[in-house]
Amino acid sequence: MNVATMLGAPGEALRQPQQQWAAAVTAVLREAFGYHFERNAFFRAQCDADGVTPADVSTRADLPKIPMLPVSMFKRPDAHMLLTAPLTDIELEIRSTGTGGVPSVARRDTTTVDRAVVGITSSYRDFFALSKGAGLFLCPSTAEAPEMGMVKVFNMLNGVFDDHVYLVRDYAFDADEALRYLRSREGEMTRHIIGPPFLVNRFLRFLELEDIELKLDPESMVITLGGWKRYTGESISRPEFDAKLQRYLGVGAGRIRDMYGMIESNMLAIECEHHRKHVPPWCYVSIRDVDDPSVELTPGRTGGIAVLDALNTAYPGFLLSDDIGEVDESGCPCGRTGQTVSFRRRRQGAELGCCAVSIEKFLDSQEIVAECAVPAPAGGR
């Protein structure tokens, strides 16, 4: 199965027998490796230093031989070195800013954007089967945050809805307005909520404090992305989150779906109804020994998450992230094969870095400014 087939029919690609999956992902990654090996001097030097060529990758067991780029390199002022494509071919720059404040910028050329848009859209169809309804987006719109990876990925979902609204404006969130929107669509459309866990959680806290129980619709979904740790370091408990969604909005756990990704990669791992996040067929997640990243750990063992992404033609999409987790290659009851990935935490010493964290941090700072503002004298100035 080639990349084009995987992109157009991820449902089929995600349900191949495990052996066929391994052969297909190896083939597309070998091809991607060859592409960058031939065209990227910086990557080629890394390959030469490691003594590895595309001819050395013939089976899945060879995939760990492909040299990796640490994601921290995407923050560098000399990040042009990473590019395989010339800057003139770069169409989209996506960024994420963590607690450290230095943005990570991933540059995608036209081919990569074409592939990513098709792949993500068709994956949404496979996992969510959404084609109508009302979408309450608890995040800024792309107009307000045009380069923010999380918002871009959410935004690709809004086209399937008959109506949608973004309810973080000027970096302020009004939970009462969210409630009014959901009530306004009651009996008209199936209502869905999309946003980072911390903002959905804020909305739930508002419902809890106001003692409001609002039943959404039987087919309603809650779709999240952006991590479960707040910028303060405090974690949001997934079981508590699911229980509150059931209690205050009537959405069952099987319709609450989290996603995991990183802006530097075209991997968006989407949760099925059994709460396992499936790695898309064009990516391979390799878990690496934290102390020796050249060593791949077997499924089930916890280590550094490395992502090998076959879609990227702008730069080598072979990335060693700052995330810690594990993969599972046992069959999923949903029928999908390949790998599922679980994120556990950030690597020790790594900053908390994601779009949701920067939104929350900025949103809180704005609220503090608003709370401390000196009221204008009567009559204004």
Binding site: M73, P77, H80, L87, I90, G100, V102, P103, E147, S358
Partner: protein, 134 residues
């Protein structure tokens, strides 16, 4: 014009004056808290108020890295007094044009140039808030 002008492509791909001067006469930093674009300039200023050496550190989109490089190439050898006239429109012109979503970096560049002048005249220095754990 494509998404990036020839000047932006050139400065992004071959950045001039990248780095930081140890014990610089003046340091100026400007960052955008929302998008995260950041430029740090460090410079030495000769007795005749001419910028004799300048380096930049920048983080953000390709246009911001290119404009930071272009800015140092423009400032190097110029009298400080001339920098106060350097505005976003002039920087955009020097960059060979910027796409609408890139124009904020011209404003960022002008801001940090003005801050460099003000800091030097006030004897002030910005701390180095840029940290990049690479």
């Amino acid at each position: 014009m494509g998404r990036f002008s020839a000047t932006v492509v050139d400065h992004f791909t071959n950045p001039r004056n990248l780095g930081e001067i140890d014990d610089a006469d003046v340091r100026a930093f400007v960052g955008n808290p929302v998008c995260g674009d950041q430029i740090l300039l460090t410079a030495n200023v000769a007795a005749d108020d001419v910028v004799s050496d300048i380096r930049f550190q920048a983080f953000g989109c390709s246009a911001s890295l290119a404009v930071a490089s272009l800015l140092t190439a423009t400032i190097h050898g110029s009298p400080l007094g001339e920098l106060t006239d350097l505005d976003a429109a002039r920087l955009e012109e020097l960059a060979g044009g910027l796409a609408p979503d890139q124009r904020h970096v011209a404003a960022l560049g002008a801001d940090v140039a003005h801050r460099l002048v003000n800091n030097f005249r006030r004897g002030a220095n910005d701390d180095d808030p840029i940290s990049c754990s690479v």
